[in-house]
């Protein structure tokens, strides 16, 4: 089983990670981060396989992936 | 410039003497591009760099060449590029970057007739470009003007020490005649000195092993950062003005007329001064060697109130403006110059002064 950690304050809200997650486990938050943008949020730990697609495409190295 | 006790002598052109001076100073990186009248310098370096295990690159342009020198200097090497007037125009951006990044380098301009493509005859019409800055921004470079093959070698060697001392580019300003003429020079026996300055350059980019990474750049966008750099640079240029002024005087002690000339023009003027002395016109020569920093005080000290000054240049009159700044009395300052690569003669200078002395 996998898990990811998103450093939400570094996120610029580009949402690329959302589109590449095979199991659609990332959504944009309703709240704003310190940068004043909606940031990516990891919603469901159970189905994450630790494939790291999200981390690979993240332009700001905001995501760490655990397995 | 130390006077050598000649252990051995070489008959050599000014161009090649300049190259030898670089090799002697431990220069181990040269990038150049062919342009008359300094081709022999580039060719000489292509031979010598291989002999001393240095790097020679014939670049695709003078502009690429100065940027290769920039890279070599970033890596800590003593590096040189040489060209002639049009090629030096192409290097101005690079020279501004070298100064802005506080990088040492030696640039040699063997001047030719301009503007535009001009001709391949000797000229001194790049004085402004060299001393007032041909590139952008508040930067200065020390400029030495040799007047012999010996000085072409010695000043080039010296230029590397000045460049490293201040971490700033230095220019040797010669001309086509100096480059092409051949004279015996004294070469002290010492073999090629190694580039012993290299290991002292902690700022160089050599890979951040055992230290924090170095960054060498001149883009400073944050509020006040560029101003801070410029203030630092101005202090450095002030030091250069204090320590690096060089000039030569010849029979100026009792002179009623002082010729001010550098490079080849100074040699012709020296002969004219001797000739005038025979005609009882006390004439002397003041020869600036460092064109920047210009020897204002030394020149001013020759003014005994009624002394007349004739500036002789192979141009429309550029250094004459610095002579005016030094002496501050226009009516006693006159100019004689030849344009477009024409060289003034002894007779012309003598006649000019005979009329002045009336």
């Amino acid at each position: 089983m996998g898990r990811i950690k998103i450093y939400s304050d570094k996120c610029k809200g580009c949402a690329l990670c959302i589109t590449v997650c095979p199991n659609k486990l990332i959504t944009m938050s309703k709240k704003l981060n310190k940068r004043g943008v909606h940031y990516a949020e990891f919603s469901d730990k159970k189905k994450c396989t630790g494939c790291a697609m999200c981390a690979i495409i993240c332009p700001d190295a905001c995501i760490e992936v655990y397995k | 410039m130390n006077k050598h006790k000649p252990t051995n002598r070489m008959l050599i052109t000014g161009n090649e003497a300049c190259g030898e001076g670089a090799v002697k100073a431990g220069c181990r990186f040269y990038a150049g591009y062919p342009i008359t009248p300094q081709n022999e310098l580039t060719a000489y370096m292509s031979k010598r760099m291989d002999e001393v295990g240095g790097v020679f690159i014939q670049a695709e342009s003078e502009l690429a060449a100065i940027n290769m020198v920039f890279g070599a200097s970033v890596a800590g090497a003593r590096a040189m590029t040489t060209s002639s007037s049009p090629g030096i125009s192409l290097k101005q951006e690079g020279i501004s970057y070298l100064s802005g990044c506080e990088l040492p380098a030696v640039i040699v301009n063997i001047m030719r007739g301009g503007p535009g493509l001009g001709n391949i005859a000797p000229s001194q019409s790049d004085y402004f470009q060299a001393t007032k800055g041909g590139g952008h921004g508040d930067y200065r470079i020390v400029v030495f003007a040799p007047a012999s093959c010996q000085e072409m070698m010695d000043f080039t060697s010296h230029a590397f020490d000045i460049a490293d001392r201040y971490r700033n580019p230095v220019m040797i300003l010669g001309d086509g005649m100096l480059g092409q003429m051949m004279e015996p020079i004294a070469v002290d026996g010492a073999g090629e000195t190694k580039d012993n300055a290299r290991h002292t350059k902690k700022w160089a980019l050599t890979g951040c092993k055992g230290r924090k990474p170095n960054i060498i750049r001149s883009l400073l966008l944050k509020e006040g950062e560029l101003e801070k750099l410029n203030i630092k640079l101005q202090k450095k240029f002030g030091e250069m003005k204090k320590n690096e002024v060089k000039y030569e005087t010849y029979k100026t002690e009792d002179a009623d007329v002082v010729i001010v000339a550098y490079g080849i023009s100074s040699r012709i003027s020296r002969a004219a001064a001797d000739r005038l002395r025979k005609e009882k016109i006390k004439t002397g020569l003041f020869r600036p060697i460092s064109l920047w920093p210009f020897p204002y005080r030394a020149l001013k000290s020759l003014d005994k109130g009624k002394t007349k000054f004739l500036t002789v240049e192979m141009s429309a009159g550029q250094m004459v403006e610095d002579v005016r700044l030094a002496v501050q009395d226009d009516k006693r300052i006159q100019f004689y110059g030849r344009l477009g690569g024409a060289v003034p003669t002894e007779e012309e200078i003598t006649e000019k002064i005979v009329n002045m002395a009336k």
Binding site: K10, G13, Y66 | A64, M68, G210, I215
Partner: protein, 244 residues
Amino acid sequence: MEKIVFKKPESLREITTHYCAGCGHGIIHRLVCEVVDELGVRENVVAVAPVGCAVIAYDYWDFDVTEAAHGRTPAVATGIKRVLPDRLVFTYQGDGDLAAIGTSEIIHAANRGENISVIFVNNGVYGMTGGQMAPTTVLGQRTATTRKGRDSGRDGFPLKISEMIAVLEGARYIERTSVSSPKEILKTKRAIKRAFEIQIHNEGFSMVEILSMCPTYWGLAPLEASKRIEAQMVKAYPLGILKQ
């Protein structure tokens, strides 16, 4: 027992970059650092940043970096590499730096077979200066200087610089990849690693052209921008190995 399988590479500094949201530079900066870490060469690298959006790459990379005048990056890298042949020297350049003002320098560095690596980020516009046309802007593409779309009659054709360089004998390895999707990003990383290895083995000039997205000046959301790479840019700039 849980273990970490993906994290920020060591040689990529902690700070958030100035790049716009969804800009490909951020990804490529990270890939370069991942390769530097994996090859264990951080302390051996001397990089040359261009003039363009990536000019302040030295704020993000934790190794020696200098900055070249616009377009002169390959010449600066030549000087560095010739003086320090056993260091890993690479340039990181945009399409304006490499394929417009620096065309002469890149061609001659490749033609001399300089043992350097070039990371060439092609996003088809001038980002730093506000989205003007670049040599690699595709026909019909609107930019600040091609309001009605690039028109070959006035603006010439998209420049295929990598194909031009690939015919040079001095060029040892040229590949074009993209960062439009995780799959392509991993291919890009492999290409960068291959280029650095070629340099380490002294085999000559290597260059990786990376099609990248500029959401801001393409006027697209990041996702649409990465789709546009595959829909439009790849047509003008086919991916694959051009020389090895």
